[in-house]
């Protein structure tokens, strides 16, 4: 089958680019099911370009740059590219803010799955978050309560359009329940997130050499806020003067300049390092050097790729007590220390429960390693292929 995937992809830095990278990496090995892959990706900044060769031993990938983050006409652009590519299946790898930071452009882009279905293409959406669990204010969408309510109503309408796809896959059981009960959907399925890294077959070293390395990883500024982590770090510095805080990643595209603002505000805090964008080849080093991975989230927007990565590298994690993340941790066999969201003292205490107790660090890291390696993304890709085949039989 020929599969078109609407997504971001490295070197593009849009959200879900890493998920796409790993998904496509393994999809390219499924010769029994797949003949060709077309990536329908967003425009890159000047000077950058997508690089896919026609490597032997891998399924060929054709890249079509057809949409632009923030553009109002992304759905139309995507429809045109899909028609020209004429795939058997169109897969969307998206979340609510995939196509734009602005409300209207984001919503218009999310009409694309419905338009594909209308155009007669078998359409599957991998939806990484749902409107009902997004804290709009913290995600950068809500300005005041009236506006927030209006956005949520608008979001409900967009969700109904997304649910016109043949199948909508989500990564958390509660999302299935919400979409079925609230929208009466009968085309929603649970698909595991999967681990990005291939099992190495052995438990990585849980306590690297050197002083405590406290790391957070992601795209920051909306619901991933660094301030509470920096303030927690300040509180644990007197007891751990050599400790290092690594903020690995970039601004969320909706909040440009956020990390620079944090850097200036907390310029007096020693031992802080901002890595900027972390390329795929640097990911193992960044995780490998860390003692503990922190999730300074104020709300969640779906399953966490970073949690799966931390697990794949056998790392201990410190997580906020937020419904989705707690549920994911339990259901998928992960472990971690928890803190009260937006509470620096609670976060500092949770970090110390890890870095002051190597045996606990090792215990969490081991559990997370086993959980992450239980279901690598190559197997998740098989789940999708089974569903695609079912769809094509109809």
């Amino acid at each position: 089958m020929k599969i078109a995937i609407v997504t971001t992809h490295p070197p593009g830095k849009g959200s879900l680019n890493e998920y796409a990278f790993h998904f496509v990496r393994f999809l390219r090995t499924k010769f029994e099911n797949v003949s060709e892959i077309v990536l329908l990706v967003d425009e890159l900044p000047e000077g950058e370009k997508y690089s896919f060769g026609q490597e032997t031993g891998l399924i060929p990938v054709t890249v079509r740059v057809c949409w632009k983050f923030g553009a109002w006409d992304n759905a139309l652009r995507i429809r045109k590219a899909v028609r020209e590519s004429n795939p058997d299946i169109v897969l969307f790898n998206i979340q609510f803010a995939s196509f734009a930071g602005g409300k209207v452009a984001a919503a218009l882009g999310l009409l694309a799955p419905w338009m594909m279905r209308q155009a007669g293409f078998k359409t599957v959406v991998l939806l990484h978050n749902i409107m009902e669990t997004v804290n709009l204010k913290q995600a950068g969408f809500g300005g005041n309560p009236l506006m927030e309510n209006a956005v949520r109503q608008f979001g409900n309408m967009v969700t109904r359009f997304i649910l016109h796809a043949d199948l909508v896959a989500v990564t958390i059981p509660r999302y299935v329940e919400i979409l079925e009960s609230k929208y009466g959907a009968n085309n929603v399925l649970l698909a595991p997130h999967g681990s990005f890294e291939e099992p190495s077959g052995e438990m990585p070293e849980a306590v690297p050499a050197g002083p405590p390395n406290i790391m957070t990883f992601g795209k920051f500024g909306t619901y991933k806020k660094v301030e509470v982590l920096v303030e927690a770090f300040e509180r644990l510095l007197p007891a751990h003067p050599q400790a290092k805080l690594v903020v690995a990643g970039t601004d969320n595209p909706n909040v440009k300049g956020y990390l620079e603002g944090v850097r200036q505000k907390y310029a007096h805090v020693p031992n802080m390092h901002f890595t900027g964008y972390v390329s795929e080849e640097d990911v193992p080093r960044i995780f490998g050097e860390s003692w503990v991975v922190i999730f300074p989230y104020t709300s969640t927007t779906g399953s966490s790729g970073v949690l799966h990565q931390a697990g794949a590298f056998g790392k201990a994690v410190v997580l906020p007590k937020l419904g989705d993340l707690e549920q994911l941790v339990v259901e998928e066999g992960y472990d971690g220390e928890f803190f009260e969201p937006e509470n620096p003292q609670s976060l500092a205490d949770a970090i110390c429960r890890v870095i002051d107790h190597p045996e606990r660090m090792l215990e969490i890291g081991s559990k997370n390693y086993l959980a992450a390696n239980g279901l690598p993304i190559t197997e998740v890709v098989d789940w999708y292929l089974i569903h695609f085949e079912q769809l094509l039989k109809k």
Binding site: L167, L190, L375, H387
Partner: protein, 111 residues
């Protein structure tokens, strides 16, 4: 978890008992691979005595189904308990697998 391996004609049958999760996947996956490698690609897995299944275990069944189909065969399931059936419905894998109410029914369908 207990594994009872039987056969019915050219159909390989595996009855599982207990909790089918990440810790139990390896022997089941190995048995499935053994059958496929030996060309026995008509397979029934009886889940009557399985009270829990997780995503890793589901994934091993998906892999088995895929390998059987690639060789022109089929992997069918039977006798799902309600909690296990719920997981298949949640993941919509109940649409991908053919699931029979009883083992004899599954055997008849594959013969």
């Amino acid at each position: 978890m207990e594994m009872l391996k039987t056969s019915s004609g050219n159909i390989a049958v595996l009855q599982l008992k207990g909790r089918f999760d990440a810790h139990e996947v390896v022997p089941v996956g190995a048995w499935l691979q053994e059958q496929v490698d030996a060309g026995r690609v008509q397979i029934i897995i009886n889940l009557e005595a399985v009270n829990f299944i997780d995503s890793t275990a589901l994934s091993s069944l998906v892999r088995g189904l895929k390998h059987c189909r690639e060789k022109g065969g089929e992997l069918r399931l039977c006798c799902l308990q309600q909690p296990v059936r719920v997981i298949f419905e949640l993941t919509r894998l109940d649409k991908a697998f053919t699931i029979h109410a009883t083992q004899p029914e599954a055997v008849d369908a594959l013969q």
